[in-house]
Amino acid sequence: MSKMNRIKSSLIDTKKEINFVFNGKKYKGFKGDTLGSALLANNVKLIGRSFKYHRPRGIISHGSEEPNGLVELINEHYNEPNTKITTLELYEGLKAKSQNCWPSVKYDLMSINDKLSNFISAGFYYKTFMWPSSFWEKIYEPVIRKAAGLGSLTLSNCDRNSEKGYLHCDVLIIGSGPSGLISAYIAGVSGVRVLLVEEDFIFGGSLNNETLTISDMPAIDWVKFIIKELSKLKNVKLMNKTELIGMFDHGVFGAIEKNKYKKIDQIFWKITSKKTLLCSGSTERLIPFQNNDLPGIMLSNSIRSFVNRWGVKSFKKVLLFTNNDDAYSTAINLIDNEIDCIGIVDIRDKPKNVDPKIKVYTNSQVINAYGNLKLQSVDVVNSDGKIINIECDFLGVSGGWNPNIHISCHTGVKPEWNNKILAFTPGKKNISTHLEAAGSANGKFTLNECFNDSEIKTIKILNELKIKPKKYVIPKTKKETFNIDPFWFVKQGSKRKWVDLQNDVTVKDIEIAYNENFRSVEHLKRYTTLGMGTDQGKTSNVTGLAILANLSNKSIPEVGTTIFRPPYVPVSLDAFVGSVTSKNYKPTRLTPTNSWAQANGASFVESGLWLRAEWYTKKNEKHWRESVDREVNSVRNSVGFCDVSTLGKIDIQGRDAQKFINKIYSNGFAKLPVGKVRYGLMLREDGLVMDDGTTARMGEDHFIMTTTTINAESVYRHLEFCHQCLWPEMDVHLISTTDAWAQIAIAGPKSRKIMSKIVDEQFDISNENFPFMACKELTICGGITARLFRISFSGELAYELSIPTQYASSLVTHLMEVGKEDNIVPYGTEALGVMRIEKGHAAGAELNGTISALNLNMGKMVSSKKDSIGIILSKREGLCLPDGLRLIGLKPINPKNQLISGSHLFNENDTKKPENDMGYVTSSCYSPTLKSFIALAFLKNGNGRYGEKIKVSNPILKSEDLAEICNPVFVDPNGDRLRE
């Protein structure tokens, strides 16, 4: 454990010690620390290894721009790779380790890459490893893959508690620095709903890092004061630990609130705001020079932040290197805290604001850095070319400031170049006119300017919201200036000068890319990987662009800019999921008889979102086929029932209901009498089959349509389209009643007997008075409203009974009782499927969206005497081929051979070539009725080929069979049983 002393800072509570472990070693920090500040305070400078060359790296910054300070955070059940130590709030027991190094961060074997750097510069891999081609997957690529990547992800299924939420506000303010706070204050007192989000765990933004004075009090005290004032306002909501990740359409923003609540790890907020103010501050940038990646070389303002906010005292001899005024604040802060600031190397002739206590090397540059795993000295050259070596343990670099404009680009607005501050500011032509930027995010780098700019922008927003601003006071601040000279990188020296520290992109890489004609900004990024790391180029993009501009002898805006994309900071994937995980991925729809089926031995199967009984296993049954065969035999010989409530049900009423349905179905419905049901074939407008089902005419103006389970929603939507968009003049009313009515099929020769036991006496359901395709509203079991349809999917004498959903499970219990003497059985979807295949009914496997009525042998059902959806385009040549696909039945020559769905059909003597492909098997099963496997298939010119043999080929499972082509209606082709 190393000793640690701190400079006094009100933002660090030295009374509250926090223990943590880094690379197996124990350390102490304090409340208020980040892992980064605590490690630095403990003199730990070497944090990890870089992406490509495995160079030793330490932190350069104190925020989310950090490219180097990434660790694997070790939690109980999983590791979080690539965690930024500069934003991670320290907590008791925190454990972390360095990543991308082996065996240790000090001795990393992969640093051999660094020695080979001349041969693996930008784009090298595009130029080699091409021979022999099989070596790529086997040898080259595995080596590259293993070396790449940063931290490792532990594959743990441990869930974090994630939630999702929605927030609405009039004004969203992003960032709680001086601009965010003053804007929130002005908007807040004016009464609009303000939401202020801050990614840090404390409010105040850059004010926490500075020793400024606001209204004659220290800035930190002013922050506390204004937060207190804001907290009093009920219309203002303050959210810290909340990362604003992106701006999307229509004023919607995404934000992640993390590590704030005991039981919830993170909340993904979708924020809808009327107006938004971007007060996200700015980020300092580096100046590339030789070896500028040594641990100890940092951003100038980060050094002063670590001193001012975190009281870090580890800086012994600090040199600064700058092209602008800002580094002078760092120097003064260091001197005030009795840290040895040995000077400022300023590239300018006559820097302003020189404090006599600071030694300034004017007109000079830092051209090289030395040290082993940490900075020991630098070479400084003056205008005469004289080089001196200066010993130092830290170098603070300030290459100017980039406003944090990222979020302003998310909806496609390009930023604008500002030559005065040498940086991009948010584009003024904001497409949605939704977002304004203020303060330092808008290129106003002094406190005075920030307050003024924020005031102007907030008032503008309030005006747009038509709100009169209430009285407020803008605090007094000192007027300052900000001066900068264009200076982007040090030209002197041929060793590597680092631009993107995480991805190891150097000035020379950019030169190579330029020479090879990768001259557009996007090419540069993609060829060199500049700015593609986890820091998203926050410290490197603009510098890279400037170097490119320099090479092309163009100005930066002429070279272009890159558009930043969401998210602003990387976000773990589980944040976007909330509680929608594992079983909750999609809702589960249960049929009305689900619990009864569970209690009666059913196995269940997914059918879309529905869970349906697949079959019911009896005690002695070992294989599912036994159960299914038994169910089929029972229905065919006696009686069974099946819950078919999942079918879509649409109630259609109105004076024009019949006319409407006649236009929806391709077959005629104009003459369907009351009390009758008809099969309906529904086409899409392109003439292919959309769905099928039955529609019953319950009354003069009242119809009930059923759809297939899978198309329940889309058919309903289609009907509403036809009504509202095509024929709004029709008097038609539609409502989906799928969930309101349970539907039970009762099928088998004994089904009338069963029905007569439950249908109330006064209703006659004899064959004469309630024949095949009859329907009626009646009562059952002594007065319960029901609808009875004499329709059959199984091919047997059968009924479908509709009752209000709540009676369904009582009904089936009752059916079991009244059917006892006939050995009634419940049957599942599998038996249902077997019987419909035996009967040649098309279902989902056949209605696959590429099939016409003609393909189903239903060409005659497309009436050309009336208008209906799909009628015209169904006549197109390609849909009417005389030798096109037809639905057929298949019987294997050996009845014991299973025909596999998905097999392709070939003529007996043809080879398996695509040009010989004659069709495919859609559905297959074992038919206990025929005591043979059977199948349905689509075969070219199929219905002219009954009796012929065909090859059923299944090369993926290496099987092939011979089958006989037959009528797809295997059982009762004349339909006598239906009418019995």
């Binding site: 999307f248 990768f518 995980t581 769905s901 998905g902």
Partner: protein
């Protein structure tokens, strides 16, 4: 300049300042035999094959922005030939074969990596349709295997086998499928085409065509008029806009498809996996980023960016399949504009104007089609009749009822 290990060593020893342009920045000639509009994957591939296979030398590629900036640089880098319909399967299998020999042909390492594509299924109905698809693949000379649950567990032990809402039942696997470094495809084709004398112009936007007695005789650009005997359009996403200048109305809508990439992490996912109970596909790049995507946003758009709902949908589907990646972090999201056709299949065809050809409608399958698309389009332009593999991809198929509808969704582009 030829690329190989010796050149890398030679240039490395000289400080890497000897590398020359990957493609030239030539001066525009007054006239070309063929002008290709669109410097994306398909346009550059077309130019390359025109020069290489069809012996046409005087070719220009006009790109309004930077080459490779369209969908070739905005996709999830997957290559595969696992289609159900013979018309598609034959074409994509040809493409996959071209991928396999691509790098030697263009002397550029596009990192064609045949790490296998696994499509997971979750129901018997899905299994049946995957069997049909797998059989089509084999019949068309591609490779396909049906994996059972245990086999999948052995390669991808970290999928959700315990608590999945839609349990995994098996998968269709194509070993020869995989990924390719997408940007390098554009650069490699540009490099190889350039070597054969093709002129590539960036920041050269075509504003109009010039027609003379029913034929296309050139294009008006922001850099002046350029004469041409033949003009081919390969401008996915902007096809409707460009060809509206030839008074064409097309069976195409432009839609946004998003793609996502995570931070770099050490290798965990060997190949490509697609989820069968929702929209999600994923692979891991050589850099270590998880590259994944899902469904299109679903409404007409020319904005190269997407909405938040799709991000949530994709993550929900992704974590439903593999909850173990839940702590990986999303690094970037972006969108590309797709030509979505009315049957989900592409169009490679002549137009009603002599000398004007179109290559469009790749929906979101365009990347893997790049080599075959270029080859077949080059064939059409050079010979004035379709290559046998693209003869079904004609514009009049909608009028005549010969749709190639892999998903069976009908005339609604956002459902394909």
């Amino acid at each position: 300049m030829s690329y190989n290990i010796f050149q890398i060593i030679k240039e490395g020893l000289k400080g890497n300042m000897g590398w020359v342009k990957t493609w030239r920045n030539p001066n525009i000639k007054k006239k070309y035999d063929v002008i290709i509009i669109g410097g994306g994957g398909h346009g550059l591939a077309t130019a390359f094959y025109l020069a290489k296979e069809f012996n046409i030398k005087n070719i220009a590629v006009l790109e309004k922005n930077w080459i490779g900036g369209g969908n070739v640089g905005r996709n999830t880098t997957i290559i595969r030939s696992n289609y159900m319909l013979n018309e598609n399967e034959a074409f994509y299998e040809f493409s996959l074969k071209l991928w396999e020999g691509l790098e030697k042909q263009i002397n550029y390492n596009a990192m064609v990596s045949q790490r296998g594509v696994l499509n997971i299924f979750h129901s018997d109905a899905q299994k049946d349709s995957f069997i049909r698809r797998g059989n089509s693949m084999i019949i068309n000379g591609a490779d396909a295997e049906l994996y059972d649950l245990n086999k999948i567990k052995s390669i991808y032990p970290f999928l959700d086998y315990q608590n999945a809402r839609f349990p995994i039942k098996g998968g269709l696997f194509q070993k020869r499928g995989g990924t390719v470094r997408h940007d390098a495809v554009a650069w490699g084709y540009a490099h190889a085409a350039d070597k054969l004398g093709v002129d590539i112009f960036q920041n050269c936007e075509v504003n109009n065509f010039k027609f003379k007695s029913g034929s296309c005789v050139g294009v008006e650009t922001n850099r002046g008029f350029i004469k041409a005997n033949k003009v081919g359009c390969a401008v996915a996403g902007s096809t409707s806009l460009l060809l509206s200048k030839a008074d064409m109305v097309l069976p195409i809508e432009s839609h946004v498809l998003q793609a996502f990439v995570s931070e770099s992490i050490k290798p965990i996912i060997p190949g490509v996996i697609t989820f069968g109970a929702g929209h999600f596909y994923i692979s891991q790049s050589d850099k270590g980023g998880l590259v994944f995507g899902g469904d299109i946003d679903g409404y007409n758009s020319y904005a190269q960016r997407g909405n938040l709902d799709i991000l949530e949908d994709v993550c929900e589907s992704g974590l439903a399949l593999m909850p173990s990646i839940s702590k990986a972090r999303l690094l970037r999201m972006w969108g590309g504009v797709m030509d979505m056709t009315m049957d989900g299949s592409p169009i490679i065809d002549k137009t009603h104007i002599k000398g004007l050809y179109m290559n469009a409608g790749w929906c979101y399958g365009g990347f893997k089609a790049t080599p075959a698309s270029g080859w077949c389009f080059a064939h059409l332009i050079a010979k004035d009749y379709s290559h046998s593999l693209s003869e079904n991809f004609k514009l009049d198929r909608f009028k005549n009822g010969y749709m190639i509808d892999e998903k069976g969704q009908g005339a609604q582009p956002n459902l394909h």
